[in-house]
Symmetry: C2
Subunit: 319 residues, 2 copies
Amino acid sequence: MQLGFLGEMAPQIRLVEESLAENLKGEGIQEVTAYLLQGKGKRVRSALTLLAAGSFGPLPPTAVPVATAVEMLHLATLIHDDVIDGATTRHGLLSLHRRFNERISILLGDHLFAKAFVLFASVGNVRVVRTMANVVYEMCQGEIEQNLNCYQTEVQTEGKYLERIGKKTAILMGESCRVGAILAHAGRAMEDAMYDYGYNLGLGFQITDDLLDLTADTERLGKASGSDLKSGVVTLPLIHALKAPGYAGRIRELLRPGIGDTEVAEARELLAAAGSLEYASVMAEKHLRLSKEALVRLPEGPNRNLLQKINDFVGKREF
Amino acid sequence: MQLGFLGEMAPQIRLVEESLAENLKGEGIQEVTAYLLQGKGKRVRSALTLLAAGSFGPLPPTAVPVATAVEMLHLATLIHDDVIDGATTRHGLLSLHRRFNERISILLGDHLFAKAFVLFASVGNVRVVRTMANVVYEMCQGEIEQNLNCYQTEVQTEGKYLERIGKKTAILMGESCRVGAILAHAGRAMEDAMYDYGYNLGLGFQITDDLLDLTADTERLGKASGSDLKSGVVTLPLIHALKAPGYAGRIRELLRPGIGDTEVAEARELLAAAGSLEYASVMAEKHLRLSKEALVRLPEGPNRNLLQKINDFVGKREF
């Protein structure tokens, strides 16, 4: 269990872990899926679905398969993105395409996508399927836009950044919450409150993630730090610094293919001096606050308290 | 239009072509999707869905989006399979990962999967989604099994081969027909007849495809011939020859990584002499006959006649 901050719901998350293992076993790819499930994923998205689904009464029996499918979608996109981005590590392990090969990564990603939709469809609610198909579509668009916009410093704005990380990260977290409310038949107002909580949590999470990519060391992060900078992904601190007089010129020079740790370190210094790291941190806090405010619209109870704890965890995480 | 054998339904197939173009445009990948849609795909699977859906009365409005989504699934699996198999050409063009790169292929495949499920979910019928999610799952399993079983001459049997090509090819063709009947609310008996027609058509199609990979020249095929043999994929003629006294030994020797055109030509001679090409041809005919027999259970009319024509086309194709 890697869910210290969610110890209270360990039994439920264990259901998801078991369901993941059960749904991925004995299918010719045992060794690969066993490796995948060793990774230190925190299963946050499936926790969101379970907590949302259980916020309005007893946990509906559809919640575990849907939460499992949500996690599968997340894993599938990580596996394909790691191939696309050439990532070397993930969740503290060698990335799957490095440990095995790219063919296996493509196949396992597709397998997880397909299995996820088998599970989504199994609960017989077409809104769940429609919602999650749209999520995958938006995530692909986010990844495509990220790839197209590498090194494109001119076209980047804070608005476009938020839209892109919305697609890449926040929509999945928002909809992971919403489908829980859908399964619980909680009504539109509750669904929307869940979505607002999860979407803003996702924005806060991704802004923090992008910040940590610049500031945390590789060992704590579980993946190479400075990787966004090295691959030309323009994140919020950079967008801020590109408008800062006295910093923009040098930052623009540093944003080029083939830079190494020296340039990453220099960029980090400049981003700190320009107040850009601080700015991103304030923006992450802002979205986490919006997320927290959405919780007020939800019924009081242990699940809401746990959703609050996840929010606290995202705000405090340093890895 | 590449659908000479289906000229009578050209207007309907054009709806799918337009819907494909419409659903894939203006999304940051214009150049890539334009290239994809240049390929000489015959749109057989979407034709099956349209013909099935229109077999029981006027074409339901849900048929075009579902037929479009069926074609997208097919294209997505081709794109990913081509990366996995290292294919150089497809539909008479350079394969997408050769023309662009593997990252683009992974992204576009995922994009097509996602968009397909958005369209499947848009018609509001959970059985359609469940059916097609299962198809993708089985197709992934088929591709995984094909990869695991390369060069494994000991474990191959005719039964396993049929099961594998069932997953890879025939289930999609069967379910492409069945969803048409589902959309037309034609009832289980009609759904099953449609599936039996499409599934056996798919088996006949794939056995022929595997045979042509050994016998047709590269130019007519639109992809490199002998590619299965070169990559160790054990198809029906090989399985037959591996049981033929006087041939099995040499065939087994030829089935090794790194063989070239000389060995392919020798294998072709041996397979002809052993009657293995003939055997596969007879098996293809058998399944096409089963497919044709299922048509008798369907209502008479122009759509049934066109389904018959597709069956005739598959039986006669030489490329």
